[in-house]
Symmetry: C2
Subunit: 314 residues, 2 copies
């Protein structure tokens, strides 16, 4: 008996770290992760799925603990060779990591669905959590900036997320459908967790797939979100700066407001305990705890708190 | 003044080694190599051109001196990762080498011609010889065996060329055209050298491209071939075994007979001096010398002999 599924909506690093803790607190087989693919990109002709890979590598224990992307102790010989040939190499691709992208690209070209390929990679690397891409369809996050609209990785990696963000668009989202199993998992889940990920570029694409947000709204009481903003800052990535660009105050309670319609429980950091009232005013139950995951122990502690607050049995 | 071009028809390792000698005896800018692409393959979704790469890497001083393929001191981390994901990994692809294949594949997909991409790679690696693929078209060598027809790399690498060869077919050759510059180079060349390569699988595809063999026939007196068979054996690869499968005696003079219509000068090894008469009987001028290239000195010595016999000024 593995119990009813527990669903997690996930972006990249923050989500992956939380999920690594969750998979030690709950039976991994019970966890269904719905991953963002809005930041997928074609680089050197390869299909890269950065968020899916970050989750997979982290759960497989292969992630680089410092960088938050790629595989630990990876080498960069292929990239060096590409650079020598004059190719643009601002997107760092390690050699082991390339194996994943080569595999994925070839399988997709053979006609396999992204969900199938994602499962193959996860299984081969010993990941027992089910990882679903949000959609099989092609969704691409585009970032509006004063210098024009940028492809997501150009904004995020090449230009290091330093442009003012004037708008965000999820190209293809309206035509995309949730991947098989996504809506079913949300419907059947005992609980749903919105991982501590960027609300715009990690959760935004997932929520933009027709049907997903509505399905979550119907489960509001069973949905818990963990704030990616702590004391006005994002631990990683441009969430706080994005909020400022969008004339939002970078605060946990502001994130809560973005999730108001589909989140029933909102987890904020001890540093933000004063915002608990504002969260409560949104009709959410605030949970105040330590949300900074410096190491394995803190990941598990946070996961345990969330599991308890959701009334799950570990 | 670099002088009129000297053209070389090239397969893989044997050709590459000879060309490395030739490029030290003649001005590299004067040498135009026409390379075999019949053994090109799509592996892990990448366009691999093994013979073009062997020539490029050897002329760039990057080739692995032992293996005859790939880049020296290369690592195989991407391949290990692919293996872990369950991909077939019998085709060895080093990480640096992968950089080349990624670059080529992406450029071809962008619409660049193979000749253009080949030149870009060679130039970036400091190769001053002009390297032309025999054709921009898709030509694929297929090997007939008692277990059915095999894709070339399956026969050659996966099954280590151990099947009896019952036939060879160059799929697409009849519809292919010589790459721009190939026929012109043959026409304008001061001399043409058929490198010591397998007559069936290295020279066969080049000669099967409509127009090339005829162009060579018109230059017969200026064409010299170096025997890839020495004392009944090929130094590398399956040439001798293939000749036996085809009921041909594996002998230098038999190779000469295969080239009878377009070669005027035939270079055989000292070990085969007794076959000089048979070569002469074909209307060719035999040149007997050491053709075994163990090191740089021997490559250059052989190149110097060929250059002298062709009446070229070094």
């Amino acid at each position: 008996m593995k119990g009813r599924p527990v669903v997690a909506l996930a972006g990249g690093v923050g989500a992956a770290r939380f999920l690594a803790g969750l998979a030690r607190v709950l039976l991994p087989e019970r966890i269904v992760v719905i991953g963002n693919t809005g930041d997928d990109a074609e680089i050197h002709g390869l299909h890269i799925s950065p968020d899916l890979d970050t989750v997979t590598y982290t759960l497989a224990g292969l992630a680089d603990p410092q960088r938050g992307w790629g595989i630990q102790r990876d080498t960069f010989h292929a990239l060096d060779a590409l650079r020598r040939l004059g190719a643009e190499t601002w997107f760092q691709l390690g050699d082991c990591d390339l194996g994943t992208h080569l595999y994925r690209t070839e399988r997709l070209r053979q006609g396999a669905a992204l969900s199938r390929v994602t499962a193959e990679i996860a299984t081969a690397l010993g990941v027992r959590v089910t990882l679903l891409p949000m959609s099989e369809g092609r969704v691409r996050t585009r970032i509006g900036t004063p210098r024009g609209e940028l492809e997501f990785q150009t904004y995020f990696v090449k230009r290091r997320a330093r442009d003012k963000v004037t708008g965000i668009r999820f190209e293809g989202a309206e035509q995309a459908a949730p991947a098989a199993g996504v809506l079913e998992a949300i419907r059947e889940a005992q609980a749903i967790i919105v991982c501590p990920s960027n609300p715009f570029i990690s959760m935004g694409p997932i929520l933009a797939i027709p049907g997903i947000r509505v399905a979550l709204q119907q489960r509001r009481a069973a949905v818990a979100a963990i704030s990616p903003i702590i004391a006005g800052r994002a631990l990683k990535g441009p969430a706080a700066a994005m909020m400022r660009s969008m004339k939002l105050k970078p605060a946990a309670a502001e994130v809560a407001r973005l999730y108001e319609d589909f989140v029933g429980i909102f987890v904020l950091d001890n540093a933000d305990r004063k915002q608990a009232g504002a969260v409560q005013a949104l009709g959410m139950r605030p949970v105040v705890t330590n949300t900074i995951m410096r190491g394995v122990r803190e990941r598990q502690a946070l996961a345990r708190t969330v599991v308890r607050e959701l009334g799950l049995t570990a």
